[in-house]
């Protein structure tokens, strides 16, 4: 009886709306970033072009910048006074800052290094001759991508997806700067935990933190397992 009541109490303190928003944001970020990161990773792994170093540095930048600095610049870039913010408003009638759309756009930017890096390493590990062998065997570039590159790079792609998903669930600084804390729109689980901790609501903060920990762990575990099994198949 006591156990049932404690579980009910734990469920009651969780901000389900914030959790759902976080899950939506993490899934949308991972899905949208997948093709973009694959394209960037292949480009950086196999091509040599001018300003390659600058592009790589720009992609890695979110890794070293304080989230508040990144958030500040994104706020400037997405704001109503910015060309991007104005174009978005003209197109959709909505603002880019303090909205889910803006949060998603920011999430794509701050997750770039987490998505591109593991993929780039995976694609770079595929010997050039293996791709060339596919071409001389008659496979088109697209067939080579689907049947040779993708299965061989899959562990890196899976790792990238897991990292992106887990990192989005936990991101705090950028989310707060760009999205604020609007319930149902930009208030993610990480911000809900912060709010509860600030209000000395320890049981809610602890419950949601444990849930986030478990979710992140399962996400990473699932995707890396999937990566291994695809390679073994």
């Amino acid at each position: 009886m006591t156990e049932v009541s404690s579980v009910t109490a734990a469920i009651a303190v969780i901000d389900w709306q914030a959790l759902s928003l976080s899950l939506q944001l993490a899934s949308a970020t991972a899905l949208l970033l997948l093709p973009l990161a694959i394209w960037l990773a292949r480009l950086l792994a196999w091509s040599q072009f001018r300003h390659q170093g600058a592009l790589e540095a720009a992609i890695l930048l979110p890794l070293v910048l304080p989230p508040t600095v990144l958030g500040y610049y994104l706020l400037l870039g997405f704001g109503g006074a910015s060309p991007l913010g104005q174009a978005y408003h003209a197109l959709t009638g909505r603002a880019l800052v303090f909205s889910f759309d803006g949060l998603l756009a920011a999430s794509l930017v701050f997750n770039l290094p987490f998505a591109v890096q593991p993929m780039q390493r995976s694609f770079a590990a595929i010997p050039r001759e293996v791709r060339e062998a596919a071409w001389v065997s008659g496979l088109s570039r697209w067939q080579t991508f689907l049947r040779i590159e993708l299965p061989l790079a899959w562990p890196g792609i899976a790792a990238a997806l897991a990292l992106t998903f887990a990192h989005t669930l936990g991101e705090f600084g950028v989310v707060l700067m760009v999205g604020g804390s609007l319930p149902g729109e930009t208030k993610t689980i990480a911000i809900a935990i912060y709010d509860q901790a600030q209000a000395f609501n320890d049981s809610a903060a602890a419950g949601m933190s444990a849930l986030l920990l478990a979710l992140s762990f399962v996400a990473v575990l699932l995707v890396t397992r999937l990566g291994r099994s695809v390679l073994r198949r």
């Binding site: 060339e132 062998a133 596919a134 071409w135 001389v136 008659g138 496979l139 088109s140």
Partner: protein
């Protein structure tokens, strides 16, 4: 079906190569590392675009820099065996071969792939991945995959370099057997001259991307077009001398070598007084008995080294009296003969240089004139 190519570029590796290979012919490209052998194969397969030249296979033009023609690797129908085989590591041997059967309807591919694997003596290994196969088996999968494409040209890039010596001999024998049934041009890149001599109908010697000479292996060794070719084909007996007599009537070119006259067959070109380079293959140096020393081109020598391997001995012998008038000749005999004749270090012997085997050759191709007038 004949493959004819002229390839030109200045970077990243300079190329000025002419390649011609007939149906059923095996042409070996030999040369040191960095001589452009593999780049030539990549150009033929469409994996590298040279700055200039053309590639034609039968009636088809695969590449023509002037006309702007460039056929993709997918449409060239080339069988390519890569140096480290480049098998698809995530796929079984069967699936590796099936991928090269894109030209067949999907339901026919598995049976055809099994056929090609069986021809490469790989029955029972169809489901194994490359990592579960030995080096020799991987090479056979790579050959099966290359042939499954039913190619118009077969390109082999150092296919024996990644296997041990014993496997290499087996695979060489299999390749010799297999090529009899192939009526397409086959181009083999190798840095192993013995392998090239064993397999090839003709050999092309490359240096810094230039094709220096193309000839059947025996002819290439007996008649190198230049001292560079002689050096690149590992000829041990390369010497210089001065022409002292030209006599077409007696089919003789007389050379002053180490202060003694040396008879070669008549070579048009050099004139009396020219400094020339001449080579004699190991097989053109004969060990003779003392009483036969009156023969032409005989020299007394001292054995300096004897290296024996599998019944054959390579002997180095020193000729002359020093003061710049000496040289080391290399020749080969059976170890049993060497034993019987007491060919040990320090032994005095008489050697005859066969007149017909002596070849006068041009100096370095960059030296300008063919012979040093």
């Amino acid at each position: 079906m004949k493959l004819v190519a002229r390839l030109e570029q200045s970077a990243p590796i300079p190329l000025a190569a002419d390649i011609a290979c007939d149906s059923g012919e095996l042409l070996a490209l030999v040369g040191p590392s960095g001589s452009g052998k593999s780049t030539i194969l990549r150009c033929l397969a469409g994996l590298h675009r040279p700055a200039g030249g053309s590639v034609r296979c039968g009636d088809e033009t695969w590449f023509d820099a002037v006309r702007g023609v460039e056929v993709t690797p997918q449409r060239r129908r080339v069988g390519f065996v890569f140096q480290h085989y480049a098998l698809f590591p995530h796929l079984s041997a069967l699936a590796n071969v099936m991928l090269a059967l894109q030209h067949l309807p999907a339901p026919e591919r598995a049976a055809k792939a099994r056929h090609w694997l069986a021809r490469s003596k790989l029955e029972g290994l169809e489901d194994r991945r490359p990592a579960e196969l030995s080096g020799g088996q991987q090479q056979r999968v790579a050959i099966a995959r290359a042939l499954a494409r039913e190619p118009q040209v077969l390109l082999l890039d150092e296919p024996f370099s990644a296997v041990d010596q014993v496997t290499r001999r087996k695979l060489l024998r299999q390749l010799i057997e297999m090529r009899r049934s192939l009526a397409i041009p086959i181009i083999l890149v190798t840095h192993d001259l013995e392998e090239a001599a064993l397999l090839a109908d003709r050999m092309t010697v490359l240096h810094h991307g230039y094709t220096l000479q193309t000839a059947p292996p025996d002819e290439l060794l007996a008649r190198p077009a230049s001292v560079l070719v002689a050096r690149l084909t590992d000829q041990p007996n390369i010497f210089f001398g001065k022409v002292i007599e030209q006599s077409p009537a007696t089919d003789t070119t007389l050379i002053d070598w180490l202060g003694k006259p040396l008879q070669a067959c008549y070579h048009a070109g050099p004139v009396v007084g020219d400094r020339v380079c001449w080579v004699v293959p190991e097989a053109g140096v004969i060990l003779v008995r003392d009483h036969q020393a009156e023969r032409e081109n005989t020299f007394t020598a001292t054995v300096s080294e004897r290296l024996a391997w599998r019944g054959h001995a390579t002997v180095s012998a020193r000729l002359g009296e020093g003061q710049g008038r000496d040289a080391t000749l290399s020749f080969a005999i059976g170890t049993a003969v060497a034993q019987r004749r007491g060919i040990v270090s320090g032994a005095r012997i008489v050697l005859q240089l066969q007149k017909a085997a002596i070849c006068l050759t041009a100096g370095d191709r960059t030296s300008g004139s063919q012979f040093g007038h």
